[in-house]
Symmetry: C2
Subunit: 353 residues, 2 copies
């Protein structure tokens, strides 16, 4: 794959300037750009600047509001029912998590449910904010359907991610997981490469197990642990869709094809103030002991290291901040085209490899 | 398997009376007995009255306190750091969930972390209490190690369950899941029956995949979704063990073999008051719509019905309340022996099948 090595801060400025060309204000454009580039830094390219084109299309078509707003529908000492007013999901998510942290510091714990929102990027972005503020922090979102209920062949719930993080003496321990065994992208890639897929990745449109990626693409990806992963995804939809008074399951509008109707995605955020349970220094000491014990365990054949949740992504982030991000040629060119289209200076450079 | 058909209320009275013979007070003995018998009603026999012998041994040896106590280490408007004072886990769990519900009703959300506790039975017992009170309710516990970190062969975290429930117009939608693909009990059963096990259930003591249940028994069961299920279990240990200031991972004492040192298990409870986000009637209406949609989806070959999380257990509960519990002969006789040992009248009857 042809790539361009680009500096992460230049990439972030490029994304910010593109968003500002649509009248997104400077600070909010930076927040969105930072969220996207952080995904590229971590190796979650599916949630990175490759999304700029669709985000810009949605903002410029007016199906997403360029001026972020919010309405606090109802607030209590440890809860907020938050209306995202169809703003960009990253702005709504960042603001909601900030308030969640503040309230948890006051009362011990806070839960925020958001409706009328849009795709909010990588869930880990928000839980890292919470962990950095000394919280156990949790977030999840719903998404249009691509997982079938256990026993059915018809997609109903999304691969609704859940993320949780806690602070340590170093970087947060952070789990950000989708409830499917693999993303559909991996099935599509296997089909392109003419390979078979392991049983358990996907089912056919008739709900039969398959190792043929082309059949899997017509069907659905499978949840981890069968009914368990499906159950996790369903409950994420209950929280993000039903409790928040957003849409859910098949009622969520499609981000890629529908430029008339807002998505009405929902998110949830929860923070627990660690210092209200245990001294934060003691908590981090105990985390360090756990991490050291995990690292010292015997390794399976072919395993070079026992990783802590979030550790691989954090190492990539550090490495790419230092050595640059290898941006796919197709994404590099897409950003160039967007600059031409929206009259923004193209500031990215990068030696092609 | 030989079984005895017993009435659930008689079984509960029997368990209650046995506990009272150890000076557990009448109300607390009823709470413990109700928790155990509910597991038998739901078909989770591993957490039912088959546990009476070990619980009674632990109480009578003094390694678990017969008189339940608690110390509120720290309380804030939406949090409690709760010391279970080495009481029976079911009493501590029930009391902690009750307070969690009360506080969430006041502030919107509450999180309770418990230390110095013991095995608390089936997690679903507590989240059902919360759902019945109009809450989104969550609970989890830690347990001694039997899952290896991803990439290792050495057990470090328990099959730490997590449970979540919400109310509907009918019975709660309820997910209560362990993070392993199967319980070790299923591997042991396959070995007894001389069958192979599917790849993905267990690994050998050297961390190699296996379909030989005897090799799997020497190794560990595998987490759902590989690093995802392991990550869920690890975070449950961080909450229940590290945040609560209980023990965690390999530092948890063994319930079955150690009668000198308290287990120091931890639990967490979280409630979110639905009515602070959306009218409770509207919430239940939306849940009903979701359930109806799920039920109407096309069914895979061989599937008779699409089930909602918790529905199978709830049907069993209703059926067994009506028609009796088929108690395994070995458990029936164990209760009879306990009655003789502790001088309690044996009130169970039941035609053997």
């Amino acid at each position: 794959m042809k790539t361009h090595n680009v500096n992460w801060e230049t990439l972030r400025s490029q994304a910010q300037q593109l968003l500002m060309s649509l009248d997104v204000n400077e600070q909010e454009a930076l927040t969105i750009a930072d969220n996207l580039v952080d995904a590229d830094l971590c190796g979650v390219e599916s949630h990175g600047v490759s999304r700029m084109a669709i985000y810009m299309k949605r903002i410029s078509s007016g199906v997403v509001e360029k001026k972020a707003r919010e309405i606090i529908r109802e607030e209590h000492p440890s809860s907020i029912a938050w209306d995202g007013c169809n703003s960009m999901g990253m702005i709504t998510g960042t603001n909601a998590m900030k308030r969640c942290i503040e309230k948890a510091k006051e009362t011990g714990c806070c839960f925020v449910a958001v409706n009328h929102s849009n795709h909010y990027g990588m869930a880990s972005y928000y839980v890292k904010m919470g962990a950095d503020a000394g919280m156990v922090s949790f977030s999840g979102t719903n998404a249009p359907p691509n997982i079938a209920p256990w026993g059915s062949s018809k997609a109903y719930v999304g691969t609704n991610p859940l993320a949780i993080a806690v602070p340590t003496h170093g970087e947060p321990m952070l789990l950000d997981m989708a409830p499917s065994v693999v993303a559909m992208g991996k099935v599509i890639l296997a089909a392109k490469l003419g390979k078979t897929i392991p049983e358990g990745w996907a089912q056919t449109a008739d709900g039969k197990p398959t190792t043929d990626p082309k059949e899997g693409m017509k069907g659905t990806v499978l949840p981890i642990g069968g009914p368990k992963g499906y159950g996790l995804s369903l409950f994420m939809d209950v929280l993000c869709g039903i409790l928040s008074d957003a849409e859910y399951g098949p009622h969520l509008n499609n981000m890629w094809h529908d430029f008339e109707n807002p998505q009405n995605v929902g998110h949830v955020f929860c923070c627990i103030d660690i210092s209200k349970f245990i001294d934060i220094g003691t908590f981090k000491d105990r985390m360090m002991q756990m991490v050291q014990e995990l690292k010292a365990l015997p390794k399976n054949p072919g395993v070079s290291e026992i990783f802590i949740p979030g550790e691989i992504e954090q190492r990539r982030r550090m490495e790419r901040k230092k050595n640059g991000i290898e941006l796919a040629d197709v994404v590099f060119n897409e950003l160039k085209s967007l600059c031409e289209q929206y009259g923004t200076q193209f500031i990215l450079e990068g030696e092609m490899k």
